[in-house]
Point group: C2
Chain length 396, copies 2
């Protein structure tokens, strides 16, 4: 029989399943092209041309599908490390990098390595709720603290939550679902606080930075380096979003070479990557992304989608903070009821995710990594819904 915990998880996540079932039913009934599906962070954009070019080159060499060191090919890690060194303003070598099955694989591997039974991992609301499962997988517990109104981290709230049970803080910037980039001064403040609290609790509190949207940013805002700010830091990421290849499960993690307990940490991570059954990140994709450091899809396409959505939804009377990055728009649920607006939009064949999916029920998330026709086609539905709710339309 199925484990009790898994049964409970299936029941508690049934609202998400129902949502997807409803979506699938709508698509079946009205045709997929008549449903405006903004529910998934699954980029419709093709990978950059360079990706396919390199992939074909690498795939033609049929000697390259064997096991390699569990951490990944040394030469691949070298290229990634060189890139990270400049991105994170910290000198990283191939020894500090582990190639992973996406950011999901990276996070699970890190969490398994550091969690003792009953440990807590702190994250700020709103956040990607798979973190809850990832912590639970390894006997830990995700502890959510409220963020600020503008979706920035509330450093005092995080500080208050820290106890001797706190193993790590996870941050995700640019943030899914809010699109918020935590500014440099916030990262420095967080770092100072973690140094102080680590001393106070007598325990190293690691900072895990989940950065799959680092390259998807607007107006050259830039994402501050956590490595540069805090020595006990671990960065996890994937090429899923910036190369539009989420199905391929390729990413990496890097441990700050100055981290406490560094040797155990990196060796423990390599062990956990193996024993969790990942063994190693997919070989061909490792070879491919090695040649694509710094490459991404054309972010300007996402900027245009964002700008169009921002302009129109403002006109219709919706309220939101303009995202600094990611391809998400996190919109206030008019009246505060996320399920009501999700249902109303569904009547317009528009699929979005209720804020409760990110622990913030007063909002809903629009994933605008879809084609322009989906965005344009949905406008009338967003407008009608706004009118139905009596939102105050902006005068043009």
């Amino acid at each position: 029989m199925v484990a009790e915990k898994i049964k409970t998880m299936m029941e508690s996540s049934s609202f998400i399943r129902k949502m997807f079932e409803t979506g699938a039913k709508l698509k079946l009934e009205f045709g997929a092209e008549n449903v405006y599906d903004f529910s998934l962070g699954n980029p419709a954009m093709d990978p950059p041309k360079e990706f396919t070019k390199i992939l074909l080159e690498k795939a033609a060499d049929h000697h390259m599908h064997r096991y390699m060191p569990n951490a990944g090919y040394v030469d691949v890690r070298k290229k990634v490390a060189d890139y990270i060194s400049s991105e994170q303003k910290t000198y990283i070598t191939e020894n500090d990098v582990v190639m992973t099955s996406g950011a999901g694989g990276a996070l699970n591997t890190v969490l398994k390595t550091i969690i003792n039974p009953g440990d807590k991992i702190i994250a700020s609301i709103p956040c990607f709720m798979e973190y809850k499962f990832y912590c639970d997988n390894h006997g830990g517990e995700l502890e959510l603290v409220n963020g600020l109104e503008d979706f920035n981290l509330d450093i005092e709230a995080i500080e208050t939550a820290i106890t001797q049970k706190t193993a790590a803080v996870i941050i995700n910037s640019p943030n899914n679902p809010s699109g918020r980039i935590y500014p440099q001064e916030t990262i420095v403040k967080l770092s100072d606080m973690l140094v102080r609290k680590s001393k106070e609790t007598g325990r190293t509190i690691y900072l895990i930075s989940d950065e799959p949207y680092r390259k998807i940013i607007y107006n050259n805002i830039g994402v501050p380096s956590v490595m540069d700010a805090y020595k006990n830091s671990i960065v996890c990421t994937s090429y899923s979003k910036d190369l539009s290849i989420p199905g391929e499960r390729i990413g990496w993690l890097t441990v700050n070479p100055n981290a406490e307990d560094y040797t155990n940490l990196i060796n423990g991570i390599i062990l956990c990557n193996r024993i969790l059954g990942y063994v190693n990140a997919p070989a061909l994709m490792q070879r491919t992304i090695a040649e694509l450091q710094g490459i991404s899809v054309d972010i300007d396409i996402y900027r245009k989608k964002r700008d169009f959505l921002v302009k129109k939804l403002k006109e219709f009377g919706y309220n939101f903070r303009i995202p600094d990055g990611t391809f998400y728009l996190f919109v206030e649920a008019p009246g505060g009821d996320d399920m009501e607006i999700v249902d109303l939009l569904k009547d317009e064949k528009i699929l979005v995710v209720p804020g409760r999916g990110f622990s913030l029920p007063g909002y809903f998330r629009i994933a605008y990594c879809v084609s322009d026709s989906v965005i344009e086609g949905s406008m009338i539905g967003f407008k009608r819904t706004a009118e139905k709710l009596g939102l105050r339309q902006e005068t043009k």
Copy 2:
């Protein structure tokens, strides 16, 4: 700091690390071509030509790297299901199949789905020791029982070990490290016993069959179907060994459609595949293997390697059971001390794995998935070691 458990694991597996370090040192000192490395199940043989052909076709289509259903592409699962149906003599549909990150991913996903805290999973010695970690990952415990002298399952021993805490029995046939295929009558006997014990304990005992070596068999012996024999069965496998692509992390699991609690089981498995961070099996490899059902490397090449080794090692006086399948030879440690023979062979620059790595210290494992030159080059070292140990040479 690193979790206590992970620290202990690192220490307890230090003998394996030391072995690999010694190997690496030998290769550095004498050149890789002068070291005979039989330690890893990492096929030196290239994948079949069809693999690279299909891979290049699929890689040229750059619209295919997105997320798909967590269980995998429906059309891929359909092709796999059709193949399994004939292989397992059980009607399997795409709904019963989940594409996974190799057999390691499949096993972890299944174990997470069925293990309640403190549950036991039974396996027969000798066996692949990663099972120990896989069970522990999800709060369970691997319980090892002795096999028979000829490496067949000891059904009575398994029966004796079963309690209400037993969630499943894992078998691996053809077996790593012994090369044993459990015969049809053993599978039937196991099945009858599990039916009886499930009734007795009031708990469904699942049979998990780990079958990555199913296609690597000699003399058309054939591997019996567990699906046909036992309804509460789950098959896990990968394309790592039979297509020589272990670095790519592609495999599948299938749940017997007649299994008890079937709906929860398959939905739980799909959930666990996602929340363990696998999310889905690598997209391009799914597309590729879909077209390669029933294809494998030329098994006759392994048969020739086996036959050569068997003939020579017998001549030198080593004792072993001739393997029915896999590319492993599990040899008695002369005098019974596996570490002694491993060390003696190391002096000849021959690397093998001591039997304790499979919970059977009286043996050592030769992984002969290496080039002929490695096998031939090692013969003098195997001979000298046999002479040193005073093994009785066969008269030709």
